[in-house]
Structures are given as structure tokens and as C-alpha cells.
């Protein structure tokens, strides 16, 4: 028993030691590094009927999604339920919902990286993939919603023969810049993190064809010390760059609403409100995807109950922020005395024709996160999965009532109208799930979905820390 030197105890305080020893470990995988590598790579080499069926079904669904988009583009958005005044309906609801879901992936991979939360190491790849696929789904809607989607490129500043440029004082070019940057940076971040694992896949591939395929994507990574040093720096910087994106992307999306004059939209609370809601729904989606996958691949020792617990707590935190915002919005609507604001918030939303969606959102978003106070909910996969699905339902309806009520009943009762989606609206929304699942299944089938190098690094850190604590 010797006292650690002062610098050491400063660097690893008692809280640090406690974090390693308390409760379920963050990594409980037994066996050697080689065993862990082989085990985490094994899903890549295991095909089988299940995958064929899953990919054909979801791929067919994705084709169905493209068919609905094609139908919309060829016929015009008159096939949707949109009308005047409700010009932003299902399309923008789906857009905001999907893009919000992406935020948790960036939060896990970037913010938790900077905060040195080592539990992120085993789940960040999955969460980032979810981000990428969610952005792909989200990006469909602003484009198809234009009515003439083949002119979508007009939003980008290119020197055209028409001699005009986009108006950058509008929120629409901001949106295009924010989302294209978000997708590109997320993709770079994901790929840089993936490089060492693609190299591992190359080195352990059972057939020459697979070795070549993974070899091409591994870019010749040999894990050299110099490369690791640059890799660490690049990864950290990308984390630092993606962190403000977590806050900025949904802020920009919220500005699409906030800079309009409509009651219920024209509000400075929108950026933080949207960001909190985005992370909240994104964590729910991570759980929705991760829990079945964890069970399917028997990864309970790599994604332990500690991960579930931590994510459930984040749902509680962000859900509480969202609920606080609901309260502030209602209070401010009453307190300002603005007749249109108070009419919208206190009368139309709470008792109008769409009140059912408002109350559904309020109820689910209050009950579900608050169940996360209890360990029984945080650590039981089945209950947590049901809760995560309910959170996503609630968050979809939140965007629905937010978008619909403000337009349907704004200032002049003479211009009020009701909105009702058509079957095409529903089919497109359903189609996004097929595309999302198709991409996600492809990811699970062909990409090392648990970061192998980072998990081994975590294992090494934990072992070194245990040895150090035992020595003391």
C-alpha cells in the first residue's frame, strides 16, 4: 500500500476511480484482444438467409419509397394533403423529425468524446451511422417539397447563366448549408473512426475478394505510430468541429420557423428548444435500434446495462428541458398579452381541432422521461425499448402540431383551413422507415458496427486502471 504521487492523484481523483469500480462495468467482455477482435468482426463474415430476407424486404420497401417520391415529382405535390394556408405539412414534420434524430449520434460521438465519457466507445459507430441515415431521410423532404425537385440545385451559389444568386438573408440557404455541412462532417468523422477497423477487417478477411474490398476502404492503414498520432488529433478535432454542429444544425432548422411572423413560430426560444428535442428523440432512436441489435448479436458484455442506464438518464435530462420549454412557451404566450400568441397557445393548441396531438405529446413527453428516474426502467431493455418508441412517437407529434396548428389557424379566421394528410403523405413517411432500415441493415451486415480499436483501447485503459487501483 503506497500513496500515489501527488500529480497522479490529481489526475485520477477519487471520482475517477469510483467511476471504474461502481456498478456494472462499462465493458465486461472476457477473453483476449485477439478474441475480441475476431468476435466483433465475425458478423461481417456471417451471411445467411436472415440477411437475404431482411435486405430484400427493406430494399423493396426502399424502392417503394422511391416510387412514392417519383409519383409526387411527376404529378406534383397536389397529391399531398397540403393546402393554403398549410403549406408545410407532413414533409416538414418528417424533415424536422428525422434531422432531429441524427443529433444524438453526433452528441454521442463528439460531445461525449470531448467530455472523455469512455462509455461512448462501444456505441459511437452505431449512433453515427444512425445519424447519417437519418440525415439522408431528412434531406429528401425539403427537396421533394419544392414541387419541382429538379431545380433543387438553385439553392447552391453557383455562377449560373441566369446571372442570379441565392438570397442569403433567407433561412433556406442557411438550411442547405447547415445540412450539407452536417452530413459531410458526420461522414468524415464516421469514416476516420472506421479506418482502423476496416484495416482489421482486411487483415482477418476469410476470402481474397473480401480482403481486397476492405483493403480498398482501409486506404492502406497499418496502424503506424505516426498515423495513430495524426489520427487521434484529426479525430479529436472532428469531435470539436462536430460539437458546435450538434447545437447549430437544429438551431438553423428552428430559424426556418422562428424568422417567420406566424404565432407559435416567431419565438427566440426555438433554437435551444429544438436542440433539446433533437437530442432527446435521437437518444430514443439510438435505444430503439441498439437494444434489438444488442440482443441479436449477444453483445450484452460490450453494450452493458451501464450504457443503457447512461442513455436513459440523458433522455430524462433532455426530456425535462423539452418539458420546461413547453411550460415557458405557454407562460410567455399568456404573459406577453399578445392576442395571437395567446389565442394560438392557450386556445387553438390546447382545445382546437388538433388538441389531441398536443395532449398526446404533452402526456407522453411528461410520463416517459420521468419513468427514467427509476432504475427498473433504465436497466430493463424491454421497458426501455418501449419507452424509446413512445418518445419518438411523441416527438413526431410535437413537430406535427407545432407545424400544423400555426399555419391552419393563424391571424385571420377567414383564411383558416384544416389540414388532412393523404395516403401519399403516409406512404412517403412509411417509405422513409424502409430506406432507413435498409441502410441500417447494410451497415450491420458489412461494416464493423462496434468500434474494435476503440473497444480494445477502452479494455486496455480499464485493465491499466484496475492494476493501478489494485497496486495502491
Amino acid at each position: 500500500m503506497r500513496e500515489p504521487p501527488l500529480s497522479d492523484s490529481y489526475r485520477y481523483g477519487p471520482a475517477y476511480a469510483k467511476a471504474f469500480e461502481d456498478g456494472t462495468p462499462v465493458l465486461a467482455a472476457p477473453g483476449s484482444d485477439a478474441h475480441l477482435t475476431e468476435r466483433l468482426l465475425s458478423p461481417l463474415w456471417r451471411g445467411g438467409a436472415f440477411w437475404k430476407i431482411a435486405l430484400v424486404l427493406t430494399g423493396g420497401g426502399a424502392l417503394f419509397f422511391f416510387a412514392t417520391l417519383l409519383y409526387t415529382a411527376l404529378t406534383g405535390i397536389g397529391v399531398w394533403g397540403n393546402n393554403i394556408p398549410v403549406g408545410w405539412a407532413f414533409a416538414i414534420t418528417n424533415f424536422v423529425w428525422w434531422i432531429g434524430i441524427g443529433h444524438a449520434g453526433t452528441f454521442i460521438s463528439a460531445v461525449l468524446l470531448l467530455l472523455e465519457q469512455n462509455w461512448r466507445n462501444s456505441i459511437n459507430r452505431l449512433a453515427e451511422a444512425m445519424t447519417l441515415f437519418a440525415i439522408i431521410n431528412a434531406a429528401v423532404f425539403p427537396v421533394i417539397h419544392l414541387g419541382r425537385p429538379w431545380f433543387a440545385y438553385w439553392i447552391f451559389p453557383y455562377p449560373s447563366t441566369m446571372g442570379v444568386w441565392p438570397n442569403f438573408r433567407s433561412a433556406l440557404p442557411w438550411d442547405a448549408a447547415a445540412i450539407s455541412t452536417y452530413f459531410t462532417v458526420s461522414l468524415l468523422f464516421w469514416y476516420v473512426g472506421l479506418l482502423p477497423d476496416l484495416a482489421a477487417a482486411r487483415d482477418h478477411a476469410p476470402t481474397p475478394a473480401k480482403r481486397r474490398l476492405y483493403g480498398i476502404f482501409a486506404l492502406g492503414w497499418r496502424g503506424s505510430g505516426r498515423a495513430w498520432k495524426n489520427w487521434q488529433m484529426a479525430y479529436l478535432l472532428l469531435g470539436g468541429l462536430a460539437t458546435p454542429l450538434v447545437l447549430s444544425v437544429h438551431s438553423v432548422v428552428s430559424l426556418d420557423f422562428a424568422i417567420t411572423q406566424l404565432p407559435g413560430w416567431h419565438s427566440t426560444i426555438f433554437p435551444p428548444y429544438f436542440v433539446a428535442g433533437a437530442i432527446y428523440s435521437g437518444f430514443a432512436m439510438v435505444l430503439t435500434l441498439m437494444l434489438p441489435m444488442r440482443r441479436l448479436y449477444r453483445l450484452e458484455d460490450v453494450i452493458t446495462t451501464r450504457h443503457l442506464d447512461a442513455m436513459a438518464k440523458l433522455i430524462l435530462v433532455t426530456g425535462t428541458v423539452v418539458y420546461y420549454t413547453y411550460a415557458v412557451e405557454l407562460f410567455v404566450a399568456w404573459y406577453t398579452g399578445n392576442v395571437f400568441e395567446s389565442q394560438l397557445f392557450l386556445w387553438i393548441r390546447l382545445a382546437g381541432p388538433y388538441a389531441w396531438s398536443v395532449w398526446l405529446t404533452f402526456a407522453l413527453n411528461f410520463i416517459v422521461p420521468n419513468l427514467m428516474w427509476f432504475r427498473a426502467f433504465r436497466q430493463r431493455p424491454v421497458l426501455l425499448w418501449i419507452a424509446s418508441v413512445l418518445v419518438n412517437v411523441a416527438m413526431w407529434f410535437e413537430r406535427f402540431f407545432l407545424i400544423i396548428t400555426s399555419q391552419a389557424q393563424d391571424f385571420l379566421p377567414s383564411s383558416w383551413d384544416m389540414y388532412k394528410p393523404t395516403y401519399v403523405d403516409g406512404a412517403i413517411f412509411l417509405g422513409t422507415f424502409f430506406l432507413f432500415l435498409f441502410l441500417f441493415f447494410l451497415f450491420l451486415r458489412f461494416v464493423p458496427f462496434i468500434p474494435i480499436a476503440e473497444t480494445k483501447e477502452l479494455k486496455h485503459t480499464l485493465e491499466a486502471e484496475r492494476a493501478r487501483l489494485g497496486e495502491r
Binding site: 462532417v185 482489421a200 503506424s224 472532428l238
Partner: protein, 179 residues
């Protein structure tokens, strides 16, 4: 590194000791091949600090300037658009795309400089020809000694590596030594 020695280790602590021993003997040109980043090994190699941040910073500044000037010139001069009598150079409205431009090019600066400084993509690497090197992405820790670096002495390096617990030492790109 076209030729040299490659030593295999099964534990990072042993590798760190071997690196220190070689450096004490004045043998330079060391590089490790690791399955995951080990800060103790990277520290022992005493590599120069990564220059990735400089490129990321340059990218960020370039991106911000590009995005801001593009908006300022297009909306203020080339196609001056008067919306509701607001100033043509609308600084606050130009901030969101400026920020996005900075982040985008900083990310590209970081990734491209990481690849360039690490000499990636690379089609072929002589160390990959060494039998058993595929374990460098699994559970083994390799140390490469560059034959072209100053102070390289094959027999001395081999004996130090063996004494420090290397499991196997293989030459790559060097002539065969008669037994």
C-alpha cells in the same frame, strides 16, 4: 520506410521498454504498428507533434472567409437584392453560412492532412509482407526500425530487441543474412 527490421511484441509495456533501449543506444528511425492508440508507446517514440491542427485551422479560416465573401459579393454587389430596405451587407444574416463554411473546410483540412501526413492512401507497404503482421490490427504490437535512419546497425538492433523480449524479428527489404 522501405527496408528495416520488424519486431513483434505481445505486450505494450515490453514494447515501450524496447523503444527506450533502442533510443538509448542511438538507434533512430523507430515506428510502431499498433492495433489501437497507446499513449505510452506514442510518448516513448517521441514523435513530433501532429501538424493536423494547423491545416484544420487554415481550412477553417479559408472556409469562413470564402463563405462570408461569397455572400457579401453576391448579395451586395453582383446581384444586389434589396429585401424590405435592409442593408445589402447583412452581417447577422450572413453568419450561419459563414460558420458552416468554417466547419466544413476545417473538417476537410483535418481529414486530408491526417491522410497526407500519415502517407495514406497507400497501396503497398513493405511491412505488410512480414508473416504474422496481420495481427498488428488484432492483438500484437510491432516495432519497425528503419534501415535508412542514422545509427542503424542490424546486429546491434537485433540483439537489443531480442534481449528486450521481442517474440520474432523479421527483416523486410534487406538482403538475406547467411546463417
Amino acid at each position: 520506410m522501405r527496408s528495416g527490421l520488424l519486431a513483434e511484441f505481445d505486450r505494450p509495456e515490453v514494447l515501450v521498454e524496447a523503444i527506450r533501449a533502442l533510443r538509448r543506444e542511438g538507434i533512430a528511425g523507430l515506428d510502431a504498428h499498433l492495433p489501437y492508440p497507446l499513449h505510452e508507446v506514442l510518448d516513448a517514440l517521441e514523435l513530433p507533434p501532429s501538424r493536423v491542427p494547423c491545416y484544420a485551422l487554415a481550412g477553417g479560416i479559408a472556409g469562413a472567409c470564402y463563405a462570408y465573401l461569397l455572400q457579401w459579393w453576391t448579395n451586395g454587389f453582383d446581384y444586389a437584392l434589396n429585401v424590405g430596405g435592409r442593408p445589402l451587407g447583412s452581417v447577422p444574416a450572413f453568419i450561419p453560412p459563414t460558420f458552416e463554411g468554417a466547419v466544413l473546410l476545417a473538417a476537410f483540412g483535418a481529414v486530408l492532412s491526417f491522410l497526407g501526413l500519415s502517407k495514406l492512401p497507400r497501396l503497398w507497404n513493405p511491412v505488410a509482407e512480414v508473416p504474422g503482421f496481420h495481427r498488428a490490427t488484432s492483438d500484437r504490437f510491432f516495432l519497425a526500425v528503419d534501415a535508412d535512419a542514422p545509427g542503424f546497425d542490424r546486429t546491434r538492433a537485433e540483439s537489443i530487441l531480442l534481449a528486450r523480449g521481442a517474440l520474432a524479428i523479421t527483416a523486410f527489404g534487406l538482403p538475406e543474412v547467411p546463417p
